[in-house]
């Protein structure tokens, strides 16, 4: 049995919708609603799903960058939900995040040197020389040059900025990195450079990634296991081969069939879903997918299917498999 480095249990994050002059609570957005999974040491767990399904919120809530509404998160067997801010700050050294928009996440007024050495200082690297040395090392690790240290973010291309973001995340030798769409904003030819770099670093430093993306081919390329989210919930989770070869959940099947295939000789039958993704502030009753599901049955409107293991290592939330 591989040991999980991270275990997420029944994680929930509801955002209040407020309005009016008094900021009265009008309702809530169930951005993440009862999500459970674990990530093994050294593994890459991919998370896919459509816009707004709660991928980023899951990533931020488990790092407590936003406070979860409910649920538990174990990092190296320690429940981190109730630990003090001080303890959490220490733990952040081991748990890092890389964001989608490499530009917005880098302070435009700081040099690359300052951006990368900031976390070093926070975690106690007092000597300036030591920090400079480390920055140089990190820049080389991510394929940049030492002289880039004195430049500002706007002087770099999107791909290079993402490299800076990666260098910053790596600064304190973390164990787990939540990668929130790290290549989505990049061109194909640059995207493959960054994916290769991330794999190389994973092998070199035995990192564990939670890799969030909406591009199914990217996730397939990089992940060991893949989880599929829909409307705040995890609907399927299994090894990548199993998921791509034998998707069980009707949503996963539709999602996979909708990916346009580049090879003109390998075009596939498409499942075209009707309608729009429902709003997480007013999710459908029963199975959240029943409003678009081609297989929906009567029971689906009333009872929310449980997320459970239907085959070895294959978790699905659907009444078809009960």
């Amino acid at each position: 049995m591989p040991t999980p480095i991270l275990e997420v249990k029944k994680l929930k994050k509801y955002f209040d919708i407020t309005g009016g002059v008094l900021g009265k609570k009008l309702g809530e957005v169930k951005a993440v609603d009862d999500v459970s999974f674990s990530v093994n040491e050294g593994e890459i767990l991919g998370i896919v799903g459509e816009s707004g399904c709660g991928k980023s919120t899951t990533g931020k809530a488990l790092l407590r960058l936003i406070e979860p509404t409910d649920g538990e998160v174990f990092f190296e067997e320690q429940n981190i939900i109730n630990i003090s801010d001080e303890e959490m700050r220490k733990l952040r050294k081991d748990m890092q995040i890389i964001f989608q928009d490499p530009y917005a996440s880098l302070n435009p007024r700081h040099t690359v040197e300052k951006i990368i050495s900031e976390p070093l200082l926070t975690h106690g690297m007092k000597s300036k020389e030591e920090r400079q040395e480390r920055v140089k090392e990190l820049l080389e690790d991510v394929g940049l040059k030492a002289y880039h240290a004195s430049r500002y973010p706007h002087q770099f291309s999107g791909g290079q900025r993402q490299r800076i973001g990666i260098a910053r995340a790596l600064a304190n030798n973390p164990k787990l990195i939540v990668c929130d769409e790290p290549v989505s904003a990049l061109d194909v030819s640059v995207q493959s450079q960054i994916l290769n770099l991330m794999e190389k670093l994973r092998n070199k430093y035995n990192l564990t990634y939670l890799f969030i993306a909406h591009d199914l081919s990217v996730v397939k390329h990089i992940s060991d296991r893949v989880g599929v989210m829909y409307l705040g919930g995890m609907v399927e989770l299994t090894t990548k081969d199993q998921l791509y070869e034998d998707p069980k959940h009707p949503y996963t099947q539709a999602l996979l069939s909708a990916v346009p295939i580049t090879d003109p000789d390998e075009q596939q039958e498409r499942i075209i879903l009707e309608g729009d993704v429902p709003s997480p502030s007013n999710p459908p009753s029963g199975c959240p997918f029943h409003t678009r599901c081609p297989m929906a049955m009567d029971v689906c409107k009333e009872i929310k299917p449980e997320f459970k293991e239907v085959e070895d290592q294959h978790f699905v939330a659907c009444h078809l498999y009960e």
Binding site: E50, V188, S189, S192, Q193, L216, K220, Y244, P260, D276
Partner: protein, 398 residues
């Protein structure tokens, strides 16, 4: 076939066995039928219902091209200098054809399409050379009044960001109905019905309610579909779609591509589809134009571009894609990053990233070499014999 004396002689005397003198009733009947089977387009007599393109039939060039960009140059005059964003682009769009334009961010795809619509922000932008021929009329010289007519009737555009073309102050219904009534003489009520029907067609649930909502109340995918409904309401001859699905989820993208395919099949609408997703291209396009740094670097059918790319950039691009149904350890990647188009650039624009680059590539920019009918590639390797051999043998699949 041209309207020439020989043509008439042939018409009256299709076979030498029949003497013009002996015109019988039967011959006259045949002749009428024969003439009936032709139509007159752009000064040319064309066989009706014939799918032989005129080019093949008689070497005529005007044929069924609806939109033709000829050596288009659009530059931006900025504080930091002149940017040749579109630098000599030629693209042809035939009737009923779907042409994909692909290329990395900043290579000039949007500027090309905005140039066609005459919607380049001026200043700093300006079309400094070339022609944009819509059925023979040069839009680069058309008046704003004429352009408004073209934009309302003949060429519709779906923008990369739908918010830019939906008016936030008017309901979806207002905007759709206005478009429909510009076009058809029907009353408000009928137009309203049509608008609802169109929203249904583009897969918008609750069409009856959505029609009274404002753009900000809709999701990105719904806004994009409203844009498509509006474009379809115009029943345009040409649809220019700038990354219509890039911001959308794949399941919604599949719906929209389906819609565009229908529009193309049912109304014979020609579509110029800008995207950076080769999967999307493969799904709906007939031909592909690959751009790099303001220029066309390769052109061919979808199959040719994806299965047999010729330009080193296209080759690299296709190799860098992670594939859904293939297992590979390490992805290929093109080193370096795209350079902004610049006036100072000498040599091949791809040279700094190209694994095949040789001396000549740094001294002059290659022309677009013709490799067959509508098949082109901008690379010196098509010229240098030695290079070509090495290039052809390079194992790009590994």
């Amino acid at each position: 076939m041209r309207l020439t004396p020989t043509f008439f002689i042939q018409l009256f005397n299709p076979s030498p066995q029949i003497q013009v003198r002996k015109i019988s009733f039967v011959y006259f009947k045949n002749l009428l039928e024969y003439i009936h089977n032709f139509q007159y387009i752009n000064n040319h007599i064309v066989p009706k219902n014939s799918n032989i393109s005129l080019k093949k039939a008689g070497g005529v060039t005007l044929e069924d091209v609806v939109l033709e960009l000829n050596d288009l140059h659009t530059h931006f005059f900025t504080d930091s200098g002149e940017v040749p964003a579109v630098d000599g682009v030629s693209i042809k769009l035939h009737k009923g054809e779907v042409v994909g334009i692909v290329g990395e961010s900043g290579c000039g795809k949007s500027v090309t399409s905005l140039s066609v619509m005459q919607l380049i922000p001026k200043p700093p932008g300006k079309i400094v050379g070339g022609e944009i021929l819509y059925k023979g009329e040069n839009l680069a010289e058309a008046s704003e009044k004429r352009m408004r007519k073209i934009r309302g009737n003949s060429i519709a555009m779906i923008f990369q960001e739908p918010m830019t073309s939906l008016d936030p102050l008017f309901t979806i219904g207002n905007q759709l109905i206005e478009g429909i009534r510009l076009h058809e003489k029907i009353n408000k009520k009928e137009a309203n019905e049509r608008a609802i029907q169109m929203l249904h067609q583009v897969g918008i649930p609750r069409a009856k309610e959505v029609i009274d909502e404002y753009p900000h109340q809709l999701s990105g995918g719904m806004r994009q579909r409203v844009m498509i409904a509006m474009a379809m309401a115009l029943n345009p001859e040409v649809l220019i779609a700038d990354e219509p699905t890039t911001a959308l989820d794949v399941t919604i993208q599949a719906q929209i591509l389906d819609l565009m395919k229908n529009l193309n099949k049912e109304n014979d609408t020609s579509i110029m589809l800008i995207t950076h997703d080769l999967g999307v291209v493969s799904e709906i396009c007939d031909r592909v134009v690959v751009m790099y740094s303001g220029q066309v670097v390769e052109e061919g059918t979808v199959r040719e571009i994806i299965k047999d790319p010729q330009h080193p950039y296209t080759k690299g691009l296709i190799r860098s894609l992670p594939k859904l149904n293939e297992r590979e350890q390490k992805l290929y990647s093109i080193p370096g990053t795209v350079m902004k188009p610049s006036m100072e650039q000498v040599g091949c624009r791809f040279a700094s990233r190209c694994e095949f680059a040789f001396d000549r590539c740094f001294k002059a920019n290659p022309e677009l070499y013709s490799l067959g009918e509508d098949r082109k590639s901008r690379c010196f390797l098509h010229d240098e014999e030695k290079g070509v051999e090495e290039f052809a043998n390079a194992d790009l699949r590994s």
